[in-house]
Amino acid sequence: MQLNSAERNNSKAKLAQKIKKEIQEEYHRQASFLRERSDFCQELEYFLEIFSLPVSPQKVKKRFSRPFVGIYCIQAPLELFDALGFHPIRLCSGSLAIQRLSSPFLPALTCPLIKSCVGAFYLDESIEKLCDILVVPTTCDWNTKLPEMIQDKAIPFYIMELPHIKESERGQSRWLEEIYELKRFLEQCAGRRLNRSQLQISVNKYMKAWQAFGRLIEFRRRGLICGTWSIVLANAFMIDDVESWTDKVNIVLKNYDKPEGNSNPGVFLAGSPVFFPYLKISELIEEAGMDILADELCTSERLIASVIYDEPSEYGLLKALSERYHLSCSCPTYIDNDRRLKNILNTMRTYNIKGIVYHLLKGCHPYDLESFYFEKVIKENGFRFLKIETDYSREDRQNILARLEAFRATLC
């Protein structure tokens, strides 16, 4: 039976409506999970509210009152957007329900994060309406192909070609060139030129955020704040306004005290990103009786780095920015990334963490490829290693939990 266009649109809208409801449920369920935790306190409510963005974007847009720049991955320089009057948000998505909108036309083994990201474009209050510009650095293959997947959407895309070799002059200067190009592009969009002192103010703002984040990480390392909450707080940074985020984090750190001090073994969480509402892995780790004392997820601890500039000239500032978003970043898509593993090992040694949980999203190839070498080296260094490959679905919770519990037993 052939449907006419009106009917088709009608059924499409109905489907979208249904999925939207599912998404809302998913978000609310996750949020209420978090609220019911024993270590929830009222200050944390602020961060849970932030995540209502995909559910009610218009509300969020009103809240931030600046034109939005949607970005994927952490290589786009946030300070630059801020200095030119844009509000940068990261469009990463951890929603399972939203995948239903995109899975019909994506490969079955697509990275779930990308599936959700693409799906978000097909919600009725879509990213199209929300963001004025989209910035996509070409990190992994999925991200590189992302603009192609949604080319039917009328939204200006800015693609930053990421040089995958960091520690060479060519790579660094090419990335600087990309930053300059982005600056020009943003200047055009904003209709004004970049002001040096404005950029300095922005850099300072983000440095304050870095400072607060550093304190958060320190709290976490000492086991004063649990891994899930720090991931949630870091996730919120990707959407929230930087200044209010900094304030709120400082407030949380001031008032927060964990209900009871337990002596769970600490683990290091590495691998693919974890983003609200997909907090399965961190919750399961905690359920299995371990503390995530440290992680190196690009949605958590790797999110904020310091921007230190010595030259207040525009060139100096942009160079500092370019290096902060290129050299400081340890995305597995880089070729010369040997420091990442060393740093992980160092952190584990420093904080007496005995094991590493390597979280892997199915289809996340860079991390998957790395995991084997990681496993070898980490075991050679006398640490425990557990690789968990999963996706956004909840059905393998028992399987993962069983493994995590056994893993905990090996840590004691």
Partner: protein, 268 residues
């Protein structure tokens, strides 16, 4: 001191009674939606057979996927640790590697000299090469799984099964049958495919001697042989391999309790 280990697996529920590390009684029943009923039934049966009263039992340890579902357990043990301890004790501290083929998963567990879990590998969300896989094949081939071992030895020319996926293997078996391949050859092929799957999970070099196979399908001698051939390693099978996990859980509980008691005794 008598302790009970219950393994609420995905395929079967196993109950083991032990006394000071020695097996008293063991029985398995297939998993039904009413887990607790099955468990209680098995416990009752066990108590009757060994002629015990409820107060004689020092404690019950639960393990397996349904370990949290059984309300009467004193201790919940994760199945990997339980498996390691069980196999270690049953093999008289010889086992260093265990390959466990369960209802839904395949685990390879490395055990340290002290009988603790050193490292383990487990399949992710995929039932290929597990007990389910054999159940499925048994249904299509219209043969009870327990006969697989003997039948595979009668195979003249092994069939090669390409698919490692439980679902796709099903259609492959059907097409092989329609091509006129013998049942025995297909079963032998199945064993080989499972063995390959296990070797892919870890690689032969990962395994340390002595290697033991346990879990329900381990009874299948044809499968054991196929795994031996595939890994080119010597592999032993424990007696009553499906009970190692439950046994291990019971052992863990009894050890824990004896430690507690000795502490109590010292305090006195």
């Amino acid at each position: 001191m008598i302790t009970v280990g219950i393994d609420l697996g995905t395929a079967a529920i196993k109950v083991v009674f032990i006394d000071q590390g020695s097996l008293l009684w063991a029985k398995a029943l297939p998993t039904l939606p009413q887990h607790i009923k099955v468990c209680e039934q098995l416990l009752k049966e066990g108590m009757e057979t060994v002629s015990l009263k409820k107060k004689d039992i020092a404690g019950v340890a639960a393990t397996g996927y349904g370990k949290r579902l059984f309300p009467g357990s004193m201790k919940i043990v994760d199945e990997i640790s339980a498996n390691a301890v069980g196999a270690y004790v049953l093999s008289k501290a010889r086992a260093r590697t265990i390959i466990n083929i369960g209802g839904q998963d395949v685990k390879v567990i490395k055990i340290s000299c002290e009988g603790k879990v050193d490292d383990f590998k487990m399949n992710d969300k995929c039932a290929a090469g597990t007990g389910r896989f054999f159940e499925m094949a048994g249904r299509i081939l219209d043969t009870p799984v327990c006969e697989f071992g003997d039948l595979s030895f009668q195979s003249l020319s092994q069939v090669c099964l390409n698919s490692t996926c439980a679902v796709f293997a099903e259609s492959e078996i059907v097409s092989l049958l329609s091509m006129g391949k013998s049942r025995n050859d297909i079963i032998a092929g199945l064993h080989k495919s499972v063995a390959r799957r296990i070797s892919e999970l870890t690689g032969s070099l990962y395994l340390e001697e002595a290697i033991y196979l346990d879990g329900g399908p381990a009874v299948n001698k044809g499968l054991t042989l196929a795994i031996k051939e595939e890994l080119i390693r010597d592999i032993d099978v424990l007696e009553q391999p499906q009970f190692t996990v439950a046994f291990g859980a019971a052992i863990i509980l009894s050890e824990e309790m004896s430690v507690k008691e000795s502490i109590k005794a010292e305090r006195r």
